[in-house]
Symmetry: C2
Subunit: 398 residues, 2 copies
């Protein structure tokens, strides 16, 4: 492990006895975040009151935080803005993309995409009532279905169940060759792998900040729009803070400058303070080094599990270059087994029907943690230490 | 002042020397809020990690907080949910209302409505592309323009500039007589006046929680939908947490039960923790008593200002039953004068072109504060203690 990850690990304080392999669902608390939020509440909100919007920079926060995220996802500074939730940001991107391709009716996605992205597409299609179609194909077949019918592809770069990684560069290139646009959902890739939005010539990207980025439960979403597209977008979610001059209180909407038009309402100042503390940790990290370490951890995990737990079947691509930073194993009694693991302090999660999912996050998980986790998993699996009655119970959170 | 407001005042710790008459823009920090957020961060997020969604009740928070808000706005329990921003909630309400009146094309609002509501209507009209019209009339004329052409009225109950109060009961009744629906924006009325959504038979209401409710900068919006309407609504912003079974991860959207379908994405847990602490204060308050005290404060303010500052012209209705909990005065050099007042610790705000706006919030402002504020205002106004060079500078925040 590089020195930098020893340092970053010291900036988290995970509970004793917990081996946290679920940072892909909710990242842990950075030690500095609580004090940061307290300072914003007491010294800014408490003391500055309304003047905090300017004096403390709250109004500029969505752009300032967006700029800090930009480096982690290979975006140009000034083209990422933070706010709302990921679902709302998917809506904005999809709505904008369809505006830019008025003569095309197909939204292409894959059956492994996160359901909320599909739901948002369904809602938008119904609202527009212009005969759009959400076309779902198998993840492996997606590339072959990019045709000149396609207005936009809506793809989560890393599959939330299997960790399977789509090739952003080649899919984007094929889309562009066919006159289609690409939206990349980075929910499971921002902070997990090297993302190169500008290099891949991505048109749109959206994501959340509460998984690998450690912003806290419900911390806001973000959106990226390629510089050459943003000026042609007329936002449907035309909230006042996306207006060119919000404090002129004009009656007619005029879209703000560049990415500012993707802002909607009042920024979530407390959540952004927590996210800023999380980004202080990220500022230390080189993404290539993070990716190498993440692969080392997941490869170790797969080797240990396959050696000790033959009843678990790998559900993720074996080639680390074809998966993100999480590993899935199939096991019929996976729900019950995962509950037993959580009882033992190994926190992963379960996705129906039979997927046990484990996330690897070099910021606070090292090889020793992975070995300790696989020892516990081996004990639970080899000795069937779960409650068979829990087998049919299904409850999970993302 | 009733004993209860002495008690509530003790639960805020305003900065020394500050007379805060801008709670209509951003409420102050409740003393207990910082510790509440810290506890959620350290004891819940830090210790429970992903399991906090169930163990700490985060997933149920938007409904639980909605139920606490319901009492303050005269809504039935189970029909208010918290999340997103007010602008997004306006979009949801307006989109739903137009679905329910497919044969009508007019959205009726008034020229005093908050611009973001108008912008959202403009964005929705453009996206739907079905020939809808946003019809704006003068606030006083609104009632007379409710015809059988109108699909929905979109009205902010208390005018953000003048404090002028629309009559919710009579407008709603007239709308219903004409077959139209009503959306009430409660941004400047929730926590400011008695609101009786159920009694008025309001169809939709939306609001924010960072003004009179003291949830903190950027704390979330809320939405109310009348029980008899909610089951007929197909949300366009169909995010996964509005799904009937979000954790089944089905590919097709099915709207959730009742008001749950107006949820969109992951709840903002830290912001909701702060808001919960603010609502602990509200739990002590009887809204009729609050309204009486608010009127006493604003009447005292108007009397003192008109006595001492004849150059200020009342811009709010003189009849306290026709205004909310804020008072506006017109003054040509109002921007510069307000900056001088803020320097002296009397914090109100300014709205172009010439409105000086002051909010009265019995939770932490008493008659002694009002007298102290009017003494300072009188000194500044009588002696023209402002920087004339600031006259033409326009900068403000809501």
């Amino acid at each position: 492990m590089s020195d930098i990850f020893q340092k970053t690990k010291s900036l988290f304080d995970l509970p004793d006895g917990i081996l946290y392999l679920d940072g892909n669902s909710l990242g842990p608390l950075p030690i500095a975040a609580a004090a940061r939020v307290e300072a914003v509440m007491k010294a800014e909100w408490g003391q500055m009151l309304i003047t905090g919007w300017n004096k403390a920079g709250w109004m500029a926060q969505p752009n300032a935080v967006g700029d800090r995220l930009a480096r982690l996802i290979g975006a140009q500074s000034g083209h990422v803005v933070v706010g709302d939730t990921l679902s709302i940001k998917v809506y904005q991107a999809l709505d904008a993309a369809l505006q830019l391709r008025p003569d095309r009716k197909v939204i292409l996605s894959d059956s492994g995409n996160f359901p909320s992205d599909l739901y948002i597409a369904q809602g938008l299609i119904q609202a527009l009532n212009q005969g759009h179609e959400l076309r779902l194909v198998a993840p492996e077949d997606l590339h072959n279905h990019i045709t000149e019918e396609v207005a936009v592809t809506l793809i989560t770069q890393v599959d939330y169940r299997t960790g399977r990684l789509h090739d952003m560069c080649s899919i984007t290139e094929t889309a562009h060759q066919n006159g289609a646009l690409c939206i990349w959902d980075l929910a499971h890739s921002a902070g997990a792998i090297e993302v190169e939005l500008a290099k891949a010539k991505a048109d749109f990207a959206v994501g959340c900040t509460y998984k690998y980025l450690n912003g806290g439960p419900g911390s806001p979403g973000f959106i990226y729009v390629a510089p050459h597209l943003i000026d042609n977008i007329e936002p449907t979610l035309s909230g006042w803070l996306g207006h060119a001059a919000p404090f002129a209180f004009a009656q007619g909407y005029e879209p703000g400058n560049g990415i500012d038009r993707m802002r909607v309402g009042t920024p979530p100042v407390l959540a952004l303070a927590s996210l800023e503390a999380a980004l202080d940790v990220w500022d230390m990290v080189d993404m290539a080094e993070l990716r190498a370490q993440s692969i080392a951890l997941s490869q170790l995990f797969i080797a240990e599990i396959e050696n000790k737990c033959p009843m678990l079947k790998l559900g993720s691509p074996r080639d680390p270059n074809k998966r993100g930073s999480q590993v899935a194993f199939h096991f019929q009694e996976g729900y019950a087994a995962m509950q037993a693991l959580i009882e033992r302090g190994v926190i992963g999660d379960f996705r129906a029907p039979d997927t046990m999912r484990f996330g690897f996050t070099p910021l606070y998980i090292d090889q020793q943690d992975v070995r300790a986790a696989t020892d516990i998993i081996a004990d639970v699996m080899q000795n069937r230490l779960w409650d068979a009655d829990a087998y049919k119970i299904r409850a999970a959170v993302t």
